[in-house]
């Protein structure tokens, strides 16, 4: 399948550069430090057990939650080259003159980055799994936190790909994807709180990624949240395809 070939290329491209390795080792270090800190504070003061959610809730979920924050910066760094780099080096012409559709190209690129998210997820997964030696882990909460982490990072990656399709300037692509991510992750809630019109307020609140992600880290897998993530990812994929199709029209 052509999508897998493109995904494989994208993934190998990341690991050919130092960036992917630096990110992975950085995350390992950070996650390890957080784990030590959280475990220490939990042991010293078990009454911190917030709302009775146990070790998994206070430690494992928090770590996944924190890792998804890191991706606000990591996703743009990884995805900024996806199309900008190809435009810049004119290698986009190789893709555009091959007998493949724009959809396949975009899905391939996305899949490559999603695979990177999956690989990254292994680090907090293994590190928090080490808790198994001292205590019982809540498998359900553990799984829903992992799912939340993956959905949030997939969304960030897709936004990054979209931003990358906007320009052949790599820095600008990274900058705009950070902007879009920050807006949809947080700012949109701030803006919503300022608006007094109910319909608009509700609509803006619905767009907030962090709001939909929160339930996963509390152990809830709501179909409405799942639908939200599917919708937002699909939207950015479609926008990217449209953008690339129109790329042939202008310049």
């Amino acid at each position: 399948m052509i999508i897998f070939s493109i995904a494989q290329r994208e993934l190998r491209n990341m690991f050919n550069s130092l960036l992917a390795w630096i990110i992975l080792s950085g995350i390992s270090l950070i996650v390890f430090l957080i784990l030590v800190t959280l475990v220490k504070s939990y042991v010293e003061n078990p009454s911190n057990n917030l709302g009775g959610i146990g070790v998994t809730g206070t430690i494992a979920s928090s770590i996944f939650y924190f890792c998804s924050y890191l991706f606000i910066l990591i996703a743009p760094m990884l995805s900024m080259r996806s199309f900008s780099g190809e435009f810049k080096n004119k290698t986009s012409q190789l893709l555009f003159s091959a007998p493949i559709s724009m959809t396949e190209i975009v899905l391939g690129k996305c899949l490559g980055l999603y695979l990177f998210s999956l690989i990254t997820a292994i680090i907090p997964l293994l590190i928090t799994l080490s808790l198994v030696f001292g205590t019982d882990l809540d498998a359900g909460l553990y799984f829903s936190s992992l799912l939340g982490f993956l959905l949030v990072t997939f969304t960030f990656m897709t936004i990054g790909i979209f931003a990358s399709s906007l320009t052949d300037h790599i820095g600008l692509a990274a900058f705009s994807s950070i902007g879009i991510i920050l807006f949809l992750f947080w700012l949109v809630e701030l803006v919503a709180s300022l608006i007094k019109i109910d319909v608009l307020q509700n609509a803006l609140q619905y767009l907030s990624i962090s709001k939909h992600a929160a339930a996963f880290y509390n152990g809830q897998i709501n179909s409405s949240d799942l639908v939200f993530f599917v919708l937002i990812i699909t939207t950015f994929i479609v926008l990217t395809i449209r953008k690339l199709d129109s790329y042939r029209m202008q310049h």
Partner: protein, 315 residues
């Protein structure tokens, strides 16, 4: 199979804002033909190549490759096409083999045939020795060959090469031209260039494009016959009056050049030997007698400049 039309471009227009980059371009490419696409810089060569390869959408007009419209049925159309853009689309961090394997996959070559396809493309482009090297470390000539290998890896019916010899040294240019000639044996080739000898040494047919319009379309043989000019240049130490020249058989008109030489425009019944003998008989002291053949260069300049003039006149 010969005579089958592989590329049919009809009434192609392309605007960039107010700039009309292409206006009413029509061209056809038959199987087994090498078509030279010639024009000065900025004439619209690359734009045309980009449109034919599906990288750019035309403002209006149609491109059909092997009977498939590039916009309506891009997959089938592009499958019959290999394209080398002006700047070869290379991933510098890959080795030649890795890169070609990726290109093979992009072109839907089944997994079991990929090695064979790579070997064949490498062999044809003379890449045997550098297969395992990083593309970034190859010389420009070899990078260009990798670009060509990429264009022919899926054995397409049509290969489009956009200025393939730009920036190469003379030896590399000769090798690439040799390669293009070989490609012409079993692919149809469109070769875009502004280098005239390239066209003379490789193409069957030539289209000259200027300012977005087709200025001339002819076979190479047809071009050669256009190039024949009935002019000789003579230099005489003791020249007669102009009238003495025109009184000779077949001389239509005479032009005196700045350096004292004369250009004689003659008709078909003129014989240079007669001129030589009358020069001797009349003691004109003939120093030089050179037949003037027009070069493709001269014709190219004539065509492109005369178009400029008419355009300016009409403005």
């Amino acid at each position: 199979m010969s005579g089958e039309t592989l590329i049919q471009v009809e009434h192609l227009y392309r605007d960039y804002g107010n700039l009309h980059a292409l206006a009413d371009i029509n061209l056809t490419l038959n199987r087994g033909e090498v078509l030279g696409f010639l024009g000065p810089n900025g004439a619209g060569k690359s734009t045309t190549m980009q449109i034919i390869s599906g990288n750019l959408a035309p403002t209006s007009g149609s491109v059909r490759i092997n009977g498939f419209d590039i916009l309506d049925e891009p997959r089938q159309a592009k499958a019959a096409l290999g394209f080398l853009p002006e700047q070869p689309p290379l991933y510098l961090e890959l080795t030649v083999i890795e890169y070609l394997a990726y290109c093979a996959k992009l072109n839907h070559i089944p997994g079991k045939n990929i090695t064979q396809a790579i070997n064949k493309a490498c062999e044809r482009c003379g890449l045997g020795d550098v297969q395992k090297r990083l593309i970034a470390n190859l010389s420009k000539g070899y990078q260009q060959r990798v670009g060509i290998a990429q264009a022919i890896i899926h054995a397409p019916d049509v290969v489009i090469l956009d200025e393939p010899t730009v920036g190469l040294d003379p030896i590399q240019i000769r090798e690439i031209r040799q390669l293009i000639r070989e490609l012409g044996n079993d692919h149809s080739v469109i070769l875009s260039t502004h280098i005239l000898p390239e066209v003379q040494s490789t193409c069957d047919r030539v289209i000259i494009i200027n300012q977005g319009k087709i200025a001339l379309e002819d076979s190479l043989a047809g071009l050669d016959s256009r190039l024949k000019k009935n002019i000789i240049t003579v230099s005489l130490a003791n020249p007669p009056t102009i009238d003495a020249f025109t009184s000779l058989t077949g001389i239509n008109s005479v032009e005196q050049l700045d350096d004292g030489r004369y250009q004689l425009h003659y008709s078909d019944d003129f014989n240079p030997a007669d001129f030589a003998s009358s020069a001797v008989n009349n003691h004109w002291q003939l120093n030089e007698l050179t037949p003037q053949t027009g070069s493709l260069e001269q014709m190219f300049i004539d065509i492109t400049c005369s178009d400029n003039n008419t355009q300016q006149a009409s403005v």
